[in-house]
């Protein structure tokens, strides 16, 4: 299988970033169709498509869309999570920079389906280029009557606004993102079943639909071509439909974003990225820094799909695929991962705040050659005490990569502790870490 460009078909065409260019390729036909459809019929198409959330969790999208109250009593919001922060992932950035109208149209369709009044795109602060591209797209859409008052003459009003973050990984978590948008520190809140779902009480306690950028961008294709057509993509997998964009980076010759159909073998993704650079393949982190690391042998047999990836004990995640060559010291790599989570823990829940710091300290002393007997057991113990014990997924995400590395590459940790140095002769650049 090769690349299957659906969302990214026109990514290299500058005209696609203007309304005229977008319309010339069939843009806004989907909204025109959707707006004439019954709201429930739109949601049913999304259900038929089998679309699952592209942000990392893979939750069925239609359930969220269907969860917004049908009898409207108050303001409804549509919210886009564009706070892409997972190390290794850069797909939403390219989508927003090169295909801004896909997101605007997708959110407008979602707005129609959920009878919404206003939409927000919460973009991470660093993505100023993406924000500028969206600003210009939204302005054009307003001018053409595709946003604002009386959209396409239907009497429906829908505003779309941009809200920028200011540097916090935690804000990519949906409840923290909503806190941040409402003007608070980006910290997570109690979740279902202990608190109502965002679809019932989200932004300002009002029904809020929240999806990832890539998820919204799929909506125009589903409405235009039908849910069943979309579901025919990736049909070889158990329960993953459509296409998925993978961001490939690390030790590869041609890093970049690649859109593939579910069911594609992982090793073909590596081929698309021009193969491994600087040596043989050693390991892969297939779905962003949070997902468990896998070995080169597992890369050979892994099939990309939400369920299929669990056969190699990993996940699709957000699609940030990093390949590591044979000169990579896993201990150093995992130390850097732990440093990331220790830096980005928001500090709300004790297991995550303290646990990430302790993991970092232990990995740091191993990395400096001062590892002690029992450090591996200690790390495993800390992992088990963080996992599942904090409000949001950041704690879990911090524990998984460490636990997985200890399971998959235990000998590297043992060697490092015993000999005070890495068993891998790293490139000097890697050894130079502080």
């Amino acid at each position: 299988m090769a690349e299957r460009k659906l969302l990214f078909e026109h990514t290299h065409d500058p005209a696609f970033r203007t309304l005229d260019g977008y319309k010339a390729t069939g843009g806004y036909q989907a909204l025109e169709k959707a707006i004439k459809m019954d709201r429930q019929a739109v949601i049913d198409e999304v259900k038929a498509s089998g679309l699952r959330g592209r942000g990392g969790a893979g939750f069925p999208t239609w359930i969220k869309w269907n969860g917004i109250p049908k009898d409207k009593k108050t303001t409804h919001y549509v919210l886009c999570n564009a706070d892409e922060g997972e190390p290794g992932t850069f797909k939403d950035k390219q989508l927003m920079e090169t295909c801004p109208f896909l997101l605007v149209e997708g959110m407008t369709i979602a707005g129609h389906a959920t009878n919404a009044d206003q939409g927000f795109i919460y973009i991470r602060g660093e993505f100023i280029d993406a924000a500028r591209a969206l600003r210009s797209a939204i302005d054009e859409a307003y001018a053409a009557g595709l946003l604002g008052k009386n959209i396409m003459g239907t009497g429906w009003n829908f505003d779309l606004d941009i809200h920028l973050g200011a540097g916090s990984y935690e804000c990519g978590e949906e409840s923290a993102l909503m806190s941040s948008l409402m003007g608070e520190r980006g910290m997570p809140r109690l979740k279902f079943p202990h608190a109502p779902l965002p679809t019932v009480a989200g932004l300002w306690e009002r029904p809020t639909l929240i999806n990832n950028v890539e998820t919204y961008c799929c909506a125009p294709f589903i409405i235009k071509n039908g849910g069943e057509w979309y579901a025919s993509l990736g049909a070889s997998t158990k329960n993953s439909r459509g296409t998925k964009i993978f961001s490939v980076s690390g030790h590869v010759n041609k890093p970049g974003n690649f859109e593939i159909e579910f069911g594609t073998p992982l090793k073909e993704l590596l081929e698309m990225a021009g193969g491994v650079k600087g040596g043989k393949l050693k390991a892969c982190v297939p779905g962003g820094s949070s997902v468990p690391i896998i070995t080169a042998e597992d890369v050979d047999r892994a099939i990309i799909g939400y369920e299929e990836m669990s056969e190699v004990k990993s996940m699709v995640g957000s699609g940030g695929c990093m390949f590591l060559n044979e000169h990579t010291c896993i201990v150093t790599f995992i130390w850097r991962t732990a440093l990331f989570y220790a830096n980005e823990s928001c500090g709300k829940c004790t297991p995550c705040r303290e646990g990430t710091r302790w993991m970092l300290q232990i990995l740091d002393r191993i990395r400096r050659g001062n590892g002690q007997k029992g450090d591996i057991e200690l790390l495993k113990d800390i992992c088990s005490q963080i996992d599942g014990r904090s409000f949001c997924g950041l704690g879990d995400a911090a524990a998984w990569p460490v636990a997985a590395a200890l399971r998959v590459f235990p000998h590297e940790f043992e060697y490092f502790i015993e000999n005070g140095k890495s068993m891998v002769e790293s490139e000097p650049t890697l050894a130079m870490a502080p």
């Binding site: 997972e86 190390p87 950035k93 409402m182 003007g183 980076s249 690390g250 790599f333 650049t429």
Partner: protein
């Protein structure tokens, strides 16, 4: 100013600064932007983040106590609340006044794999400063940041509103020379760009 941060008694909640406690420095442009922003949200509180961006621009790239007090006054929030929000996010400059140009070096996973720490050492040698420090002439601040999500361009750096990558020593040298010749502060420009994208065409 100092009174704002003090809580009188245990029962007294942090209060909103009064008119005579703050110096109002927002320009007319900033006030227009703020009025537009207020119409986007059902609550004033939601304006805190974008208004901090306005303040970061108006106060020359640094959110001083005065800047935070002005934001608090204009949004009718307490000083403590606004300061609490501002210090949570890494892109607001609350710790000290940054240099004219902030070089943000990504040292996260993919950049680490591609040798970013070599560049950090290079910057240290070239500018004589490390993470979070500013050169004596007030021109440059260097910061190591977490994933900038441009791993295809690793090792990547961000200066103001521009990403550069993949970068090497030669590129960095040239960039530093270019920045020295640049009269405009990229830190302030970034804050201005951040504000601009919030404003609808009809509000400009």
């Amino acid at each position: 100013m100092s009174e704002l941060t003090q809580i009188g008694s245990i029962n007294e909640r942090p209060r909103i600064p009064t008119r005579d406690e703050v110096e109002l420095n927002f320009s007319d442009k900033a006030i227009t932007e703020l009025e537009a922003l207020k119409t986007h949200y059902p609550e004033l509180k939601a304006c805190i983040l974008p208004t901090l961006w306005i303040a970061q621009r108006e106060y020359g790239g640094f959110l001083s106590g005065e800047a935070i007090a002005e934001v608090a006054y204009r949004l009718q929030r307490s000083y403590a609340e606004v300061e609490g929000v501002a210090t949570f996010y890494s892109m607001y400059n609350t710790a000290h006044k940054p240099g004219k140009h902030k070089i943000e070096l990504c040292t996260c996973l993919s950049c680490h794999l591609c040798g970013t720490y070599r560049l950090r050492d290079f910057l240290k040698e070239k500018l004589g400063i490390g993470h979070g420090e500013t050169t004596a002439d007030g021109l440059f601040t260097v910061e190591e940041v977490e994933c900038l999500d441009a791993c295809d361009r690793a090792p990547v750096i961000q200066v103001g509103d521009t990403y550069h990558g993949p970068v090497d020593e030669g590129y960095l040298s040239k960039l530093i020379d270019d920045l020295r010749a640049n009269p405009e502060s990229t830190v302030v420009k970034m804050a201005d760009e951040m504000v601009k994208v919030h404003i609808r065409a009809s509000e400009r």
